[in-house]
């Protein structure tokens, strides 16, 4: 009989982080991955010989810096390449190109608005202070307000100290972002449509909300909490794509003595007397452990792997009502060359960071309106990048691979289904890119379209929501994934959750995995005492 100290279901990045910490603490830990390789939605796949696709997740920012230290990730090959520029084209041929020099950025924005150029600095300063103030919340196990345990009262006190310790202007901004649309916030600072459009993109990523929806402020803030070399809101490309990153996590876990088993989907968490005792694989094999951790989304964790009838009704109700509603797609291209912008001379420069196709609030709202009608955006928001302009290992020399993150592609289509619409979405994205970069169509050598349904089928995430559930204020912190169950435990003893559906939430962030491991190890210590 195979028995481990801990089994982690799902070799996505949070599963691997969680398993890494458990293994580091000396637990004999097994990671079970349904697919042939680990990484979950953060995989790099050589779908054509010599061409490495970041099929799903494609950039890094939120990964907690402490995790990189504690799991020795640089030693295992972690390398996040900086993005020297971001490019934001308008529909009339104008563009904003922002880079590493703040005065050059000032003059670039000043072409559109002198005051906005200066406001960028003011806004950046308040946002740095907001992110700095909130950072401890991202890195703590959230308190359970329903509990009167001394430990919980202490956590609540810590939470209040953080919230009340902020300077008043920081507090105001947090409050505003928590409750308002990003449009309301940006309108206070900026006047130019293009400037506002560029800044707004983080507010709609992966979410069923437009820049004028009240949920968008929170989504925006969540993304700003990421950092590159200590600069909030900056992103990088991992060497070899985000799959390169999860491979590092896998090596780190194995270096701590952990075991990875691929092609090993889990059908059920085995229980006995209200406690987890192991798992049953799709193959029928049973593997035992006193600690079982689900890195899957809350729907899979609570409604599939165990029998919901054994769970408290209010919890089941919450999970059933938890908003997944995946709304993002990926359309990835092999290109024979870098696309040309009619008004920018050095084309490859444009694509070394994010290409932000979503010029204004109006453009974004129009695209969102399609989604609200139950169809994909005919002229979508696109977050594009050509990693091969930075990382020469992504393609054969001279060729390029372009990743495009696309909004909105609602999981629930009104009058059609995704198997019918897949190529139509690909065409819409290609046509949109062709309108901003005339001649784009001629460069396309290959196209991969990944719909929310594909994400659900391939990666397994409910409704293909890239965050394991919307990052709306009512699904965060105290209530991620459900009130009372926001501390990585479940009602089944020894059964834990560590996916993006737990605090703090989605993106390649690692915090759920780490914080869950802290909870598991603490519970284990208490039980042993």
């Amino acid at each position: 009989m195979k028995k481990y100290d801990a089994i982690v279901i799902g070799g996505g990045h949070n599963g691997l982080v969680n398993a890494g910490y458990l293994a580091k603490a000396g637990l004999n830990t097994l990671v079970l991955e349904r697919r042939p390789y680990v990484g979950g939605a953060a995989v790099t796949e050589e779908l054509l010989p010599g061409y490495k696709f970041t099929t799903f997740s494609y950039a890094l920012s939120l990964i907690r810096p402490d995790i990189c230290q504690e799991l020795n990730l640089p030693e295992h090959g972690m390398m996040t390449l900086p993005m020297p520029n971001h490019f934001h084209p308008a529909e009339d041929g104008r563009f904003l190109k922002l880079g590493a020099d703040s005065y050059e950025n000032y003059h670039e924005i000043a072409k559109l608005s002198l005051e906005d150029a200066e406001a960028m600095h003011d806004f950046g300063h308040i946002m740095d202070r907001v992110c700095h103030a909130l950072k401890p919340l991202v890195d703590m196990i959230p308190p359970n307000p329903q509990s009167q345990e001394p430990e919980e009262l202490e956590r609540m006190a810590e939470f209040h100290a953080i919230m009340e310790g902020m300077p008043p202007d920081v507090q105001d901004m947090v409050q505003k972002l928590w409750t308002s649309s990003i449009a309301e916030v940006l309108d206070e600072y900026f006047e130019n449509d293009l400037v506002k459009g560029m800044l707004a993109s983080s507010a709609i990523i992966g979410s069923m909300c437009g820049p004028r929806s009240k949920e968008s402020g929170m989504v925006w803030l969540f993304h700003k909490m990421g950092e590159y070399d200590g600069i909030f809101g900056e992103w990088g490309f991992h060497k070899g794509g985000n799959g390169g990153f999860t491979q590092c996590l896998g090596r780190a876990f194995e270096a701590f003595g952990g075991t990875i088993l691929c092609d090993a989907g889990v059908d059920e968490v085995l229980r006995k007397d209200g406690a987890a005792i192991g798992v049953k694989l799709s193959s029928g094999e049973e593997i035992y452990a006193d600690i079982v951790v689900s890195a899957l989304d809350p729907r899979n964790t609570f409604l599939r792997l165990v029998d919901p009838a054994e769970l408290p009704e209010d919890l089941v109700k919450h999970i059933e009502d938890f908003k997944f509603q995946g709304s993002a797609a990926k359309v990835n291209f092999v290109l024979s060359d870098v696309p040309k912008h009619p008004n920018h001379e050095y084309s490859s420069e444009i694509f070394r960071g994010f290409l932000n196709v979503g010029p204004t609030f109006d453009y974004l709202e129009e695209a969102f309106a399609d989604a609200q009608e139950g169809r994909f955006s005919r002229r979508p928001f696109i977050d594009g990048c050509i990693q091969s302009t930075i990382d020469p290992d992504m393609t054969p020399p001279g060729k390029h691979i372009m990743s495009n993150f696309v909004m909105w592609a609602p999981y629930h289509l009104k009058d059609s289904d995704w198997d019918t619409e897949r190529d139509n979405l690909g065409d819409a994205v290609q046509e949109t890119l062709n309108s901003f970069f005339p001649g784009f169509n001629d460069l396309v050598e290959h196209r991969e379209v990944v719909t929310p349904l594909d994400i659900e089928r391939i990666v397994g995430i409910a409704e293909g929501n890239i965050f394991h559930g919307e990052l709306f204020a009512d699904q965060l912190f105290f209530s991620r994934p459900a009130p009372g169950w926001n501390q990585y435990r479940t009602p089944i003893k020894g059964y834990y959750q560590c996916g993006s559906g737990t605090h703090p939430g989605g993106c390649v962030i690692g915090a759920p995995g780490k914080l869950a491991s802290m909870q598991i190890l603490r519970d284990r210590e208490k039980a042993a005492a």
Partner: protein, 406 residues
């Protein structure tokens, strides 16, 4: 007016910020783009192309060339067979380091050396005093030098020549690039896979173009001095006038170091079997025998959590990006006596790749054991604050590809 290097017709227009640094009287680019971290990463991810032409270049030839170098250089030049290169130092009679440099045995009895400072008169004086029949020429302006450094450097060169196949670390190749004769050594100042190309001055522009064209599919990136200086700290390679000074112009002993004190003791591992009477030998032997080294040169890794904590206490974000300091920083012993002086760091930076603040430090031998904790003095909002750091072995970064055979 500062001089320009033979690559200037190409590097000039590429210098986007249009800021120039004066290196030995030549204009060189500290960076070509605003994102210096992107230039740095070219060395670890693709390939960086760097103009190091201002280095002083000397040719040694004639009947006594080998005998002269056996005497003048601290390492045994006889170990550097034709087709090889050697990293060496030259010391004074007291065993203090004059300078360091790479010497190449380009053809039987002919050696080329790069140095950071003028050394022609220095070497010729030694030859004259000891009566060596050696011809020493300054060939500084005859050649431009390009460093092509990074994991893709070999593949890029292989687009142009097959003569680098099987050329090992610190080995040379004589080859032609796009019809132009060059001497290539598998050496560099980045601690990565990389090559340095000696290009006759009239071929420089053509060779630059050939490399940029061959490298276009590999993200070849013109790289300035700043990125080089970041890479060299990670590689644990010392820099004259930052980590040490030449003993030639020192006023006191405190301004100079022996090779052992700079962490170069490995150069003298086989001294007992070495029969040369080289300059500084007696002093070096005495230093070893009497254990008189005042310090060693080691790495320091600043404690991540203490660094975060000390800045958070001060109410600010802990700076990572852009932290780079080539000034002296004090190090204190961790003891009951506060601010008990331990030694000093000569350079400190945040390494984006290693996700650590790292420093090169000179510490008394009792503090040099890897893992030893010390306090490094930082200035946080204009106040002196001690942050915990741990001694580490140099280099900080040493990828297998640097010395890999294939």
């Amino acid at each position: 007016m500062p001089k320009t290097t033979p690559f200037h017709p190409r590097t000039g227009p590429l210098n986007h910020p249009q800021i120039w640094e004066n290196w030995a009287g030549y204009l060189v680019a500290p960076q070509y783009q605003h994102s210096e971290i992107s230039e740095y990463y070219s060395v670890r991810n693709s390939a960086g192309l760097l103009d190091t032409s201002p280095l002083f270049k000397y040719k040694f030839s004639g009947p006594d060339a080998e005998a002269f170098l056996m005497h003048a250089m601290a390492r045994d030049i006889r170990k550097c067979k034709p087709g090889r290169a050697q990293y060496t130092v030259w010391c004074d009679d007291a065993g203090y380091v004059v300078e360091d440099g790479v010497i190449m045995h380009v053809s039987v009895g002919e050696y080329w050396l790069t140095a950071a400072e003028p050394n022609l008169r220095y070497f010729r004086q030694i030859a004259r005093k000891k009566g060596f029949d050696v011809q020493i020429d300054d060939i500084t302006t005859d050649y431009g030098i390009l460093a092509l450094q990074g994991p893709k450097s070999l593949e890029i060169l292989q687009e142009l020549t097959s003569d680098l196949n099987g050329v090992g670390f610190f080995r040379l190749a004589h080859t032609k690039l796009d019809g132009h004769s060059v001497v290539i050594s598998r050496t560099g100042y980045t601690g990565d896979l990389g090559y340095e190309l000696w290009v006759p001055k009239d071929s420089c522009v053509a060779v630059w173009d050939a490399l940029m064209s061959a490298g276009s599919g590999y993200n070849i990136t013109p790289m300035g001095l700043h990125a080089l200086k970041m890479a060299r700290i990670e590689a644990g390679l010392l820099l004259l006038d930052v980590d040490f000074y030449s003993s030639r112009y020192a006023w006191t002993d405190a301004q100079q170091d022996t090779a052992h004190e700079l962490g170069w003791g490995w150069m003298f591992k086989n001294l007992a079997k070495d029969d040369r009477a080289f300059i500084g030998r007696e002093a070096i032997e005495a230093e070893i025998a009497n254990r008189t080294s005042r310090h060693n040169t080691v790495g320091l890794i600043i404690d991540w959590y203490d660094y975060q904590e000390k800045h958070r206490e001060a109410g600010i974000m802990p700076p990572l990006e852009g932290v780079f300091n080539e000034g002296t920083m004090n190090i204190y012993k961790i003891s009951d006596t506060p601010w008990e002086y331990g030694g000093y760091a000569t350079c400190m930076m945040y390494s984006s790749l290693l996700r650590s603040h790292i420093a090169i430090a000179k510490l008394p031998l009792e503090l040099c054991e890897p893992g030893t904790e010390v306090d490094l003095e930082l200035s946080i909002i204009r106040r002196s604050v001690n942050v915990k750091a741990r001694v580490a072995e140099l280099p900080f970064f040493n990828p297998a590809r640097k010395t890999a055979r294939e």
